[in-house]
Each structure stands twice: as C-alpha cells, then as structure tokens.
Amino acid sequence: MGVLTTIFWFLVAIAGCLAAGWLFRTGAIAITPAGVKRELRTAPLTASFGMLMILLYILVAIFAPLIAPFPERAVVGTEYMPWNSVHLLGTDNLGRDMLSRLIFGARNTVGIAFATTLLAFLIGSVFGMLAATVGGWLDQGLSRLVDVLMAIPALIFALLLLTIFGTSILTLILVIAVIDSTRVYRLARSVALNIVVMDYIEAAKLRGEGLWRLITREILPNALAPLVAEFGLRFCFVFLAISALSFLGLGLQPPLADWGSMVKENATLISFGDITPLLPAGAIALLTVSVNFVVDWQLHRASGLKE
C-alpha cells in the first residue's frame, strides 16, 4: 500500500506541474503580443512549466528582501530548530532562518551563475568568431591555447585557480567564466566556420567591411540560435559548478547564503532523517531541470524538426 500511495502522490505532483504549465501558457498567450503568442503556442507543457519555474525563481531573486521573513545573516534562534510556525523550515547550524536563507540563496547563486555565464559567452563567442573570421595564426594560437585549458579537468583547474587567487566573488566569476568560455569558444568557432564560407560573407569582405561589422552584423545573427540553446545548458553547468565549489568550501563564502554551502553546513541533519538540508539541493535540481525543458524546446525549434 505504501508504495502505491507514493506512486499516486508522485503522479499527482506531475499532473499538477503539467497543469501549472498549461495554465501559465494559456495565461501568457492571452497577454503577450502577436509575435510572441505564435512562438508560445508551439511550446510543449514541459517547456511551459520550465518557463513558469524560471519566472518564479527570477521573481524570488529580485524580491528576496520583501518575501523573506528574516534577514539573511541574522541569528534568530537556536541551532537546528525543527520546522515550526515561526521558522517554517527550521533554522540552520548557527540558528539562522532556513527559509530566508533559501530565498536569499536564489539571489546569490542564480545571480552569480547568470553573470558568470554571460561573461563566459562574451569571451568565448567573441574570440571564437574572431578566430573563424581571421583564421591563420590567430586561429591556430587561440585554438591551441583553448586545447591546453580544456586538457585540465575543469573542477580541479577551478579549485587550483581559486586557491591561488583567493575566493572573492569577483575571482569566482572570472575563474569559472574563463574555464567555461573555452567550451563556448569551440562552439562559436565551429558555427562561425560554417558561416564564413558563405557567399554573403565574401560579398561583405569584398565590399570592404571591417572586422567588427562582419562579426556583429553578418555572422552573429546567423550563429545566434545554437549559441542561445548552448547558453541555457551552460547556465546549468555553471550553476552546478558554483554549488559544487561552495560545497567544497571554495565558492561563495559565509555568511553569504548559497545553496551549495547550505547543503554542506547542514549535512549532519541528514543522519537524523531530517530532509531540510536537501531542500537547497532540490532548488538547484528544479531550476536545472526547468532550464533544460526550455532549452530542449528551443533546440527542437532551431533544428527544424517537424515531429
């Protein structure tokens, strides 16, 4: 019976998620302009649910101080308090409110991951397209440098660099961005290589267009679809990397609330059958899955598959 009940509630949860996705899509179609409306109609329920979740995360991150019942860093009770009416999710190892930290964590972890991914894409795609357009020695030099960087396992490399340069938020962003930009470089370069052989690029070169305009007006718009899809995936990886680093103690530093370090700090509770430390991990998982739902939909559209 117990198993059946679990399965029942699991199915109810999935149905609830899909229903939420459907409601969100119906609502969004009603209020958006015609162009977006058309795109939204092609979204499957999974992608709608993903979009809803991403939107919720963004709202939580922006309005964190308004939503959270307690401040991020204040010690408001005794250590490891159980769930109660004041502290809905109890308190952590220092007696700070768990729910509030979870809410502020969205701001820190998601915000930093977003900034890092953006930077990684900026570096990676600019250099990738430059290498493809200019070619020759520049291409060789950059590509071999990237090969060297990619030869070192990413997490080990990040740990190494963070140990050397210290663990401020800025270094964290820079280190992960640089490491991740190598992957973006490879993608941007290969996509751009297929574009630079087109006649319209030759026409633009013969017209005497400069490098900047070639890249921004002629190449980038045509490379955007695969890059955007990759952005979604990369964001998840960066997010996981930051959480992993925080869990290992080299990511975001206390007392800043961060989902990865929250798991680490409260891990002892798991031994007592309390699932509270798993909640930040769940938050990470939910966002990752949501982003992937949306990316899958976009990839499907970009690939032009009918079925």
Binding site: M198, A203, A204, K205, L206, E209, E218, N222
Partner: protein, 544 residues
C-alpha cells in the same frame, strides 16, 4: 515505332492523382488531379518549372510521397496493383525490383562508405534474384553496356573516386540491376556539364532501348527531353498543361504556356557596334597565372572587357572560370600578371584596394540563397553599399533603396522590409543585382547567375541585366557553362579549358566555323530542340 507503341500493354496508370503537402497547419495541393498512362517500353517526359510537381508525380509512380506529403485522392495502378492501397511490404517488394529510381545528384545518393559494386549488388541480392557473385558479374556487364571506362574494375572504387558523369551512369546501371519494368529518371543530367551530359544521355537511351524498359524522364530542359521521350507531358503548378507525342509537341504546341517555354531560347540581345580601337578597357586581365599552393589553375590568361559590353567566359567545371573572377576581385592574388582597371593597375589583394576601387567592381553570385544574409532585411542588404560607399543617410538612403527596388522591377512598399527567405529564387537574384547596382559600379561579374533558375525566370534576369547595362554603361563579365545563355547575352566570348584561354573574340567570330576543336565539342554538345539531334550527333561522332 509509334504504331506498335499503342498496342503494348499498359504498365502504369494514374487517374485524378491528387497529392497534398503540409504547410504550417493546413494541407495545400502540390499535384491537383493528374492523369497519366504509360505503356511497356515507353518513355514519357515530364517537364515544367520548379514547383510544377514533376518530382512528386515521379515518386508517386513508386507509391511514395515525401515526408509531410500525402496522397489525397485518385489512384495509381502499376501492372494491376493499386499502389495507393498496397501494403508497405508489397511496395517494398516492387521498389528496386520492378520500379527503380535515378536521382538528380548521384554524388549525394550513393553511400560514400561503400564501393559502387557493393551498392549495385544490394538490390538483386535483397530481392533474392541473384547470388552475390552472379550480381557482380552482371554489374560488370552493365557497366560495359553503360560505356564506363574500365568496366571490370570501376565497381571496386568508392563513389568519390569517379567523376560526376560516370557516377550518374553507375547509378543508372544500379537502377537496371533487377531489370525493372519502369525507371524514374529525376533530372539525371541537370548537374552535369554539356559534354558529360551527352555521354550520360546516350548511355541512358541505349540501355532503356536494349532492355525495353519503360521510363518517366523528369527534367526542366526541353531540348534534353526531346532526345529521350516518346511522349511529353507539360506540368504547371500541379496541373497538366498538355500532353502529346514528342514530335507533335515540338512542332505545334497547343497551349500558350508551352509556347512560352519554347520561346525562351530564342532571346538574343541587339548586336553592339564594334569597340573603338583606342578605347581603354574597363577591366583588362593581363598574363595572369594563379592557383592554390603550387597548383596553377590559371595559366597565362588575358582578356579585356569594355564599357557597355558583355564578355562571356565559358568552359566546363574545373576550367578556371570562377578562379579568374576571384583573381579580378582580389580574393586570390595571382602568382604572375596583373589586373588593370581603366588603365590603372589594381593591387592584387582586395584588402589593399581603396574603397573606391572596391566599389567599381561588384559581383553577383550563382546561388542567391547563400549570397544574401538570411537575417538581414532587404532594406539593409541593398542599403548598406549605398550607405557605405556613397555616404547616403536617412531620407536620401531610403529614397535610393526604393529607386533600386523599382529598377529591378520589385514593388518597393511590398519588398523593402522582407527577409530573403520571403522571396522566390528569381526575386532573390534580383536583390543580388540591386545590391551590386547600389555601389554604382562600372563593372559587374555575373557568376553563373541564371544556372540555378528556371528558364522563364532566367530569361527575365537576362533581360533585366541587359536593360541595366545600357542604362548605366556597365561592363559585364558573364561566367557560365550554358552556351544558350552565351548566345543570348554575350558580345564577346572567351572559351576556357583547364586554365587556358582556348579561343576568344567577338561572339559571331567564335561561334562561326572554323572552330578550335574544343569549341566545336562544346558547341555541338548543346542539346537542340530537334528529336533527332542526339542520334545524328552520335553518328557524326562515330559512336554508334
């Protein structure tokens, strides 16, 4: 043979065939009620422009529709079997064994990972008609009949190791492997040079006659279909225009549309007065030797192009025509020789040329699809050169774009904000012309600008180029492999072969005997609208 033809048993019938394709969320008709009857051993030619539904009808003869298409009505009966109702197993049994298909691009249709003969053996072995060894022996026999060089060993090569024309013949041999009753040829020679086309046409005709195979021959080239088919059916946008015996059709077409197709090849521009002796040519190519690495693609090439004149550069693929264009534009600096523009030496590398030098020489490309950035609107595609070279801004730029659109006979209000994907092939090519004109050049290189277009559309483009030339005193370099186009538009002709200029001079002089042997070969290989042309030619060349 026309008398006995009508007494042979009927092999294939289509009655009121309707095929629909899915676009967005609705079904639109691709073929709207076609009737067709084919007797054993008969060759039917299907002609029409792109979008006429010829390939769709051809595939339907195998009971097959492309992805996203469906048979909406009518019946297809092959030797008594209703293909619209037949099970997949029945159709699979027919395909390859009794109905075979030869595609336009043999290079894309062969599996590059397997040898030719292994791909040949696949169908007969699969259908249980022959053992492997037997099939291989049969392949060699057919390769010999298809007049492939070295028939004993050519089958053991990979597809990339033989030439395009040979590959097309190997594919026809493969289609013949099970001795089918019906073969569908879908534009088998469209991608080939004229000289290669002859060989393939002759081989196909010979083998179809030898085995008394019925065939549907799909093409947009009337002269080709005239050689191959007993009867011709003309299609337009999924409807039948008319059908008649080949000779009747060629001599006296009934419908206006058919007549307009016939008339395309008669277009010729007015004779230009000879160039004054002391005139400075707009572009002068002098003793150019160029190539990639140590391989020379061009050897000591030289020719002049004068204002208001069109110089056609002709030759087969690999003759160096396009390389000559790359040298002139500066994309490929030559090893030796120089390019003069109005008497002034141009820097060999385009990166060292001044903006004004770049402006003076523009280029129109063969594939309008890849020549226009798919993400830029027409406004920017045409506006950019005007903005860049002439410094036009705001209202003046807008006016200039509209003026250019009117010049290429497209309504400015309708087209200015479109994306290239919202245009037809011919319209895209017109935008390519407008982009070249926007720079207000003296000289335009037209690289095979009409070869990807239907004949009627191509004729429109040629007329437009002609009109623009006299309006703006342009000099054209017209690269093409199609001698019919050359006859229509050129003032002077440069014949190229393997990187050398074989013959050059005014059109009348080059096209009048005595010819250089190579020019003679090229000229005589252009199919004519006479159904006896191929037979006569082969006899003259002593190949029959």
């Amino acid at each position: 043979m026309t008398v006995t033809e009508s007494e042979k048993p009927v092999l294939l019938t289509m009655k009121g065939l309707r095929i629909e394709g899915r676009a967005d969320d609705s079904w639109t008709g691709i073929v709207n009620g076609i009737d067709l009857e084919l007797r054993k051993g008969e060759v039917l030619g299907l002609i029409g422009e792109s979008g006429a539904g010829k390939s769709t009808v051809g595939l339907a003869a195998m009971g097959f529709t492309r992805d996203g298409c469906r048979i909406a009505g009518g019946e297809i009966r092959f030797d008594g079997i209703d293909l619209t109702a037949a099970s997949e197993a029945t159709k699979r049994h027919l395909r390859g064994a009794r109905i075979a298909y030869v595609a336009q691009s043999a290079a894309a249709s062969f599996n590059p990972a397997h040898k030719l003969i292994d791909q040949y053996c696949e169908a007969p072995v699969q259908h249980g008609m022959m053992g492997r060894a037997e099939a291989q022996a049969d392949a060699v026999d057919l390769y010999r009949r298809m007049q492939l060089p070295d028939p004993d060993s050519i089958g053991f090569r990979y597809p990339h190791e033989v030439s395009g024309g040979q590959l097309q013949r190997a594919m026809t041999a493969m289609a013949m492997s099970c001795r089918p009753d019906l073969i569908i040829f879908d534009e088998p020679t469209t991608a080939l040079d004229v000289t290669t086309q002859i060989e393939v046409l002759a081989a196909i005709r010979k083998i179809v006659e030898e085995f008394d195979t019925a065939a549907i021959y799909i093409t947009h080239d009337l002269a080709v279909v005239a050689q191959m088919a007993d009867r011709i059916k003309v299609l337009l946008k999924g409807d039948e225009v008319e059908e008649a015996n080949t000779r009747t059709m060629l001599a006296a077409p009934k419908e206006d549309y058919t007549r307009s197709l016939w008339a395309v090849r008669s277009y010729a521009r007015a004779e230009q007065p000879p160039v004054a002796g002391d005139a400075v040519p707009v572009v002068s190519v002098q003793n150019v030797t160029a190539g990639y690495g140590t391989l020379n693609v061009l050897e000591n090439v030289g020719f002049d192009i004068h204002a208001r004149r069109t110089v056609a550069v002709v030759g087969e693929s690999g003759s160096g025509k396009s390389t000559a264009a790359r040298v002139i534009t500066g994309l490929l600096p030559p090893h030796q020789g120089r390019i003069l523009f109005e008497g002034e030496v141009l820097p060999p590398d385009y990166r060292r040329r001044s903006r004004d030098q770049l402006r003076q020489a523009q280029m129109i490309y063969q594939m309008a699809d890849t020549a226009l950035n798919p993400k830029l609107r027409i406004r920017e595609v045409i506006g950019r050169p005007a903005q860049m070279y002439l410094g036009l801004r705001g209202k003046r730029l807008e006016d200039r774009i509209r003026e250019l659109l009117s010049l290429i006979e497209l309504e400015p209000d309708d087209y200015i904000d479109r994306l290239p994907s919202e245009l037809s092939g011919g319209q895209k090519q017109r935008i390519g012309i407008a982009r070249a004109l926007a720079a207000e050049p003296r000289f335009i290189i037209c690289d095979e600008v009409t070869s990807a277009l239907d004949q009627l559309v191509a004729e429109g483009i040629l007329k437009l180029l002609d009109k623009l030339q006299s309006e703006f005193d342009l000099a054209y370099m017209f690269i093409t492999h199609d001698l019919a186009t050359v006859k229509a538009i050129a003032d002077e002709v440069v014949v190229m072969k393997e990187g050398h200029v074989i013959e050059q001079g005014p059109k009348a002089a080059v096209f009048a005997p005595p010819h250089d042997p190579y020019t003679e070969l090229l000229l005589s290989s252009v199919p004519e609208m006479d159904p006896d042309w191929l037979t006569d030619l082969l006899q003259a060349r002593g190949e029959v």
